[in-house]
């Protein structure tokens, strides 16, 4: 222990966070070569993973490609499907049939030429939804089409896409790959104690069956428990229950009626009296869940609402209730320990940001982990600043969905109380009342949600600036041409792209090519 070098990384916890982080670090450090930085992962054989978390972001494609996992293999083993965005149903108000899309692709980059002000001026036509004016994807998703073809090479899309996946199978795949291809050392044991050194950093962790495990750097992936960072190092937790009001989820897995039932090409998110229901289609089943506030609905009624949403087929299915503590640790990185995943923070899964932030955290750790313990303090400061920013932006963005709603039930009204809205969000919304969203609102390189995401949600929810002066945004011809181009591309893609299940069946049979 005399050496100051960082040679061994110990990850505690084997959920999505643990295995994704292990794989990412082992890949970055080329840990399978003896003498390189070693990555060990301790996973409890007794404590189950959370097992939900079925929507990713498009970044997952680059992550999997980099880890050296074949896309066809990933799709087959995780019952995964292509996700092209989220359809928000009933979010605007209590009337039936209001919906909008938050998509992954716009045809033209709005940071180059922003079509939104022209859409606001009516240049795209009077009743064209924002998403349909700037993207082909809402039309594709309505028809259940895939974002690519069997001839498209792996991880490439004709349209941008992410995945829906089975969280348990995904962890299994990452585990298998980490151990067999990337050189991660796996220890199946319960951590019973965390031993600190005199300087307050972690010296080693005590396990029930493998004695002490020593390490130079520790990553806490123990889920909500936050065993290392929270319990052992005493880093406090800031609850955000006064901002985001949901505190429970009840979930049910719903088998398809037929083997060849169509698969939704995006996540469905349907507003309810005390929260919202997600509906995610995998190849073999749907995963649905009601995220709700127990202050506004009883657990029994929440489950009943979910069963009603599913319909008759819900009768024989079992529901699972999960308590969720929304909030974040006051620091994510402390001395020689960093928390990744639920142990670091959790906001409700409305925009499926958790796995994305796990990818981002492990990328930053891989890049910033210093060679010597002396230098840890610098990485610690940078990491904490970066992720405090990302989490607070994520909280604002999620909260924005609620603030913009005109739904009338107490849950939704409480969500609009000024005291529940972060000042940063109030400011942003006030400025967007005067001016349309602009690239200058997103100066930070690691802004978690891009400008386009805000545009889809703001304009989808019907939140428009009060007034766009006639003497501004005068390149009407260019805007018209681009709107026309979007329609043309949409028509072409509708004819060209296969149905989601048809493509997934073909992938299972033939696989995607790597070139």
């Amino acid at each position: 222990m005399s050496s100051d070098e960082i040679n061994t990384i110990v990850i505690v916890g084997g959920g999505t966070a643990g295995w994704l982080t292990a794989a990412n670090l082992a890949k970055s450090f080329n840990s399978k070569v003896p003498g390189n930085i070693k990555v060990k992962l301790i996973e409890s054989p007794d404590i189950p993973t959370i097992g939900v978390g079925e929507g990713t972001w498009p970044t997952m494609r680059a992550t999997l490609a980099r880890l050296g996992i074949k896309e066809s293999h990933f799709l087959a083993t995780c019952n995964a499907t292509f996700k092209q965005g989220t359809k928000f149903i009933g979010w605007q108000n209590d009337q039936h049939h209001n919906q909008y899309y938050h998509l992954f692709t716009s045809i033209f980059d709005p940071t180059q030429f922003n079509l939104a002000p022209y859409w606001l001026k009516g240049v795209a036509g009077q009743s064209v939804p924002y998403a349909s004016a700037v993207s082909a994807q809402s039309a594709l998703v309505e028809l259940g089409l895939a974002p690519k073809k069997i001839t498209t090479k792996e991880y490439e899309g004709i349209q941008n896409y992410a995945y829906h996946l089975d969280a348990g199978k995904f962890s299994e795949l990452l585990k298998e790959h980490s151990i067999h291809s990337l050189g991660v050392e796996f220890i199946s044991a319960n951590v019973t104690d965390v031993n600190l050194s005199s300087d307050g950093s972690i010296a080693n962790v005590q396990t029930d069956t493998h004695n002490k495990i020593e390490g130079d750097f520790f990553i806490d992936c123990t889920g909500f428990k936050s065993l290392l960072l929270g319990e052992a190092l005493g880093v406090g937790f800031t609850s955000i229950k006064d901002t985001l009001l949901t505190d429970h989820a009840v979930t049910i897995q719903v088998p398809y009626e037929h083997e060849d039932s169509p698969i939704n090409a995006c996540t469905h998110s349907t507003a309810q009296d005390a929260g919202w229901i997600w509906d995610i289609g995998l190849t073999n089943r749907r995963g649905v869940g009601y995220v709700y506030s127990s202050q506004h609905v009883s657990h029994e009624d929440a489950e009943a609402t979910l069963r009603q949403y599913i319909g008759d087929s819900a009768q024989r299915l079992t529901a699972r209730k999960i308590k969720i503590d929304l909030g974040y640790r006051n620091k994510f990185w402390h001395k020689n320990c960093v928390a990744v995943g639920l142990s670091a923070a959790f906001v409700e899964p409305l925009e499926a940001s958790a796995i994305f932030l796990i990818e981002a955290a492990s990328n930053m750790i891989a890049d910033q982990l210093p060679s010597s313990r002396q230098a840890l303090q610098f990485a610690e400061r940078k990491f904490n600043e970066s992720f405090m920013f990302r989490w607070s932006k994520t909280i604002d963005f999620i909260k924005m969905h609620y603030v913009l709603s005109d739904r009338k039930s107490p849950f939704w009204q409480d969500n609009k109380l000024s005291s529940t809205i972060p000042a940063s969000l109030k400011n942003a919304l006030a400025s967007w009342q005067e001016q349309s969203v602009s690239a200058y609102d997103f100066a930070h390189v690691y802004e978690p949600f891009p400008m386009e995401s805000y545009q889809y949600v703001l304009y989808g929810m019907g939140n428009k600036p009060k007034n766009i002066a006639a003497n501004r945004y005068t390149d009407i011809d260019k805007a018209k041409a681009q709107f026309a181009q979007v329609q043309k591309i949409t028509e072409h893609l509708i004819k060209d792209l296969p149905e989601q299940r048809a493509l997934l069946n073909k992938v299972a049979q033939y696989g995607f090519n790597t070139i």
Partner: protein, 231 residues
Amino acid sequence: MTTIVPLDSQKHQSLSLISNAGYAHIQQSHLLPLTVHEFAMAATNFPIVFVKDAQTGQFKACALVGLKPEQNLFSKNSQWLGSYIPEFAKLHPFVAVKTEANSDKYVICIDESSESLSQKGEGDKLFNDSVASEVLTQRGNAAVAWAQKSDLTDAFIRHLLEVEIIQSQSLSISKEDQSYNLTGCYVVNEAALNNLDPQVFMSLKDKGYLAPIYAALLSLNQVGNLLKLAD
């Protein structure tokens, strides 16, 4: 429209085959499937490229016989303008299809819409009292033989993909005021071939793959031949 159906001695009893029906069936194909056994000969006439099958995404080896979709520069007024005719072009209207994905049994199918088939007794009868005629037996055997060689070709291509010597290349061809841009073509990449690990390279030799690989590589010079025919 092609309508490929299994050959049936009852249903197709009265059909006969016009043997010199020309190349109408491939008049509008700029790509013709090849088997690896044909590479050496094909390379003296056309560029050999690899393209993805639209239905399966799997690579097929093809002779490039046109400079744009629906153009076949080699087929003109029922004549073939090259010294080599891909075997595939001569199978028509017969195709051998596997009974099951991994089986080695085939059923002979025909393209019912083919102009080389006649209901009026022109040419050679396919069946004599529901027994396959000599012509049918011979053509059926040829279709099966081609399908088997096509399987070996698939294995060959899979191997080339594994060792990563096939790469995407958009063929931009221009001559004076004419320019053509063919996308979706993949070719053997010479640099990748030269950079192969010696052991991997030897494995290509042992499998007998080197000759067709070099044939495919050299065949790319036949683009000039296509341009000449296009004049």
